[in-house]
């Protein structure tokens, strides 16, 4: 096993600015691709953008030019319906041209509506039917231990997804094996596709009550870390802390906002998946600061 570098206690401010800019670009590419495809999920990809920026540009040991590198860290997007955000992160990281993002959801595209590992190199598992990614991630983490590889496996789940029973089967089994090379990240945006009726925004209540996820993962024997999922410096710190194994698998509960970055999309379940109208597209792009003044040729 190769040693990993010790955890820095603070995050370089310029690095935080860089990661925040990458997250912004992920959001721009998400809106552009979904608008182009006239279909696709929006709310979940936007809530996950900062987490993906930190993973793909700071945390994961990967080689975009050698996607099957055996010692790479693995990432599984268990909430596969947020695929376009993952594709955007991968394209920006250099796995494939950014222009290819406009083939999202098109016939013959490698960028399927839900991730298909047989089509796109760099995907570590096919996902889409919710609840499955953590099991596969546990298999990878267990396989890494059995084969003596120092790689780490990260699995991103949705909070709505945590209603699936298989998540808790995997949580039970992974802690029995003490897989501290396995990190689950819950994108806790507190909305699901439609939601349970109740006294909340738009007549819906969140998928869990406050504190429920922390209590559950703790009860299943996991080390639980919490973070503001839109604070890139905080996410860097918490993922580096997650890397310091103590014999337990780690879950990071990332508090996020569904639709983050576009004000009229934030916090509304109906932006889970929806076609974007032309005026909404223009407004979203403007809010995301796109095109940037320098790129558009306008004076800064």
């Amino acid at each position: 096993m190769t040693a990993r570098p010790a955890t820095p206690t603070s995050v370089d401010p310029t690095e935080a600015v860089r990661l925040a800019e990458i997250a912004r670009r992920i959001r721009v590419e998400v809106i552009r691709a979904v608008n182009h495809a006239r279909a696709g999920h929006i709310g979940g990809p936007l809530s996950a953008a900062d987490l993906l920026a930190v993973l793909y540009f700071h945390v994961l040991r990967i080689r975009p030019e050698e996607p099957a590198w055996p010692d790479r860290d693995r990432f599984i997007l268990s909430k596969g319906h947020s695929s376009i955000a993952l594709y955007a992160a991968m394209a920006l990281r250099g796995y494939f041209p950014v222009e290819e993002l406009l083939t999202f959801d098109a016939a013959h595209s490698r960028l399927q509506g839900h991730p298909d590992m047989t089509r796109l190199p760099g995907l570590d598992m096919s996902t889409g039917s919710l609840g499955m990614g953590l099991s596969a991630g546990m298999g990878i983490a267990l396989g890494a231990r059995l084969t003596g590889r120092a790689c780490r496996t990260y699995v991103m789940l949705g909070d709505g997804e945590c209603q699936e029973g298989e998540v808790w089967e995997a949580a039970m089994a992974a802690s029995r094996y003490g897989l501290d090379n396995l990190v689950a990240i819950v994108d806790h945006n507190r909305l699901q596709q439609y939601g349970w009726p109740g006294d909340g925004p738009d007549g819906r209540i969140p998928p869990q009550v406050p504190g429920e996820l922390v209590a559950k993962w703790s009860a299943f024997g996991w080390r639980v870390l919490e973070v503001d999922g839109h604070d890139v410096a905080g996410v860097v710190r918490v993922l580096e802390e997650a890397g310091q194994g103590d014999g337990r698998p780690v879950v990071v509960i990332a508090y996020t906002v569904k639709g983050k970055g576009v004000s009229f999309m934030e916090g509304h379940y109906f932006w889970h998946t929806r076609a974007i109208k032309p005026e909404e597209f223009a407004s979203a792009m403007a809010e995301l600061g796109e095109p940037r003044p320098a790129e558009s040729g306008a004076p800064r």
Partner: protein
């Protein structure tokens, strides 16, 4: 003359996978808390570090198997057919069949012999389900000799496969020199009056039925079909041409399994009358093995009776 009894396929399972793992360090065993029934415990004794208890959580187990396969390991699955096929069906489909990952779904307790458990545990539509799934191959060995051969083949085969194994001792069809050939049917008995296709541990009982039928003046051409998918189309067509009359026999539903596959194939390639003997559209009850074979028309005597009725219209 009745075929002799062989050893239970479940013992062959534990022993053979243990032997394979001694030669191939990539092999691991995932157990859904049934190792004392499926005889994965034999494997555990030989390779405690490669035996991975997954608990009573089959959906997770199949997902873990997919993850292990991406790391170059070769997972074998130890559980009952119902808990390997229908309970984690979505996991099998998305994570194993769609990905093509190298997972061996080697489930025990196929067919009626489930140790008097009843309809929750007896599953007779597993072959229909698995052969309909793109990317999944389905193999149903006849006896202990063929089960060993099939497990050896499975370890060497690159990709997902479904192998159905029987809990109890069944009759031995093959000699020690038998070699399983993936995707190939096996002629067991040449005959002229009717061609019977059979699979799994039903085939030895059809051999006995053919003896009874010979005494009754019916000369059976018997072909054993261990690989349900991909089906040996050439052998099915040639078998039908030989007598012009086809009957299928299986310890499984007649809907979509061997009978369905043979009927589909012949209607496309060489339209021939096909009758299907097997479980009708029902859930079987629990009971001793011999009683169940008799109730559902799969004992050698009952098969012979049905063949006579079908051929002579009695």
């Amino acid at each position: 003359m009745t075929l002799p009894m062989g050893r239970p396929m479940r013992e062959i399972f534990g022993e053979t996978v243990a032997e394979l793992a001694s030669a191939d360090p990539r092999i691991v065993m995932l157990d859904g808390d049934l190792g004392s029934s499926t005889k994965a415990d034999i494997f555990e004794k030989a390779h405690p570090d490669k035996y991975l208890q997954m608990g009573i959580a089959e959906q997770n187990m199949l997902g873990v198997a997919a993850g292990l396969a991406t790391m170059g390991l070769i997972p074998f699955i130890s559980t009952f057919v119902s808990f390997a096929v229908v309970r984690p069906l979505d996991q099998v489909r998305l994570l194993i069949a769609q990905t093509g990952l190298n997972v061996k779904i080697t489930a025990g307790y196929a067919g009626l012999f489930t140790g008097q458990t009843g309809m929750s545990h007896i599953i007779v539509d597993d072959m229909s389900i698995m052969r309909a799934m793109p990317g999944m191959v389905t193999v149903s060995p006849a006896d202990d000799v063929e089960a060993r051969e099939v497990l050896r083949w499975a370890a060497a085969y690159e990709g997902p496969c479904y192998v159905r194994l029987v809990r109890d001792a069944t009759q031995r069809l093959f000699g020690d020199g038998y070699r399983f050939e993936f995707g190939k049917a096996v002629q067991v008995r040449p005959g002229t009056d009717v061609t019977i296709f059979s699979t799994g541990s039903q085939t030895p009982r059809v051999v006995d039925a053919a003896e009874l039928l010979a005494a009754d003046g019916i000369d059976v051409h018997l072909i054993h079909v261990p690989t349900i998918k991909p089906l040996d189309i050439e052998a099915i067509v040639a078998g039908a041409e030989r007598t012009g009359r086809v009957i299928t026999v299986e310890e499984h539903t007649v809907i979509g399994g061997l009978g369905g596959a043979v009927a589909e194939t012949l209607s496309e390639h060489r339209p021939t009358r096909v009758d299907r003997i097997g479980l009708r559209d029902l859930y079987p009850e629990s009971g001793p093995n011999d009683a169940l074979l008799d109730i559902y028309g799969l004992s050698s005597t009952r098969v012979a009776e049905q063949v006579v009725r079908l051929l002579r219209g009695a």
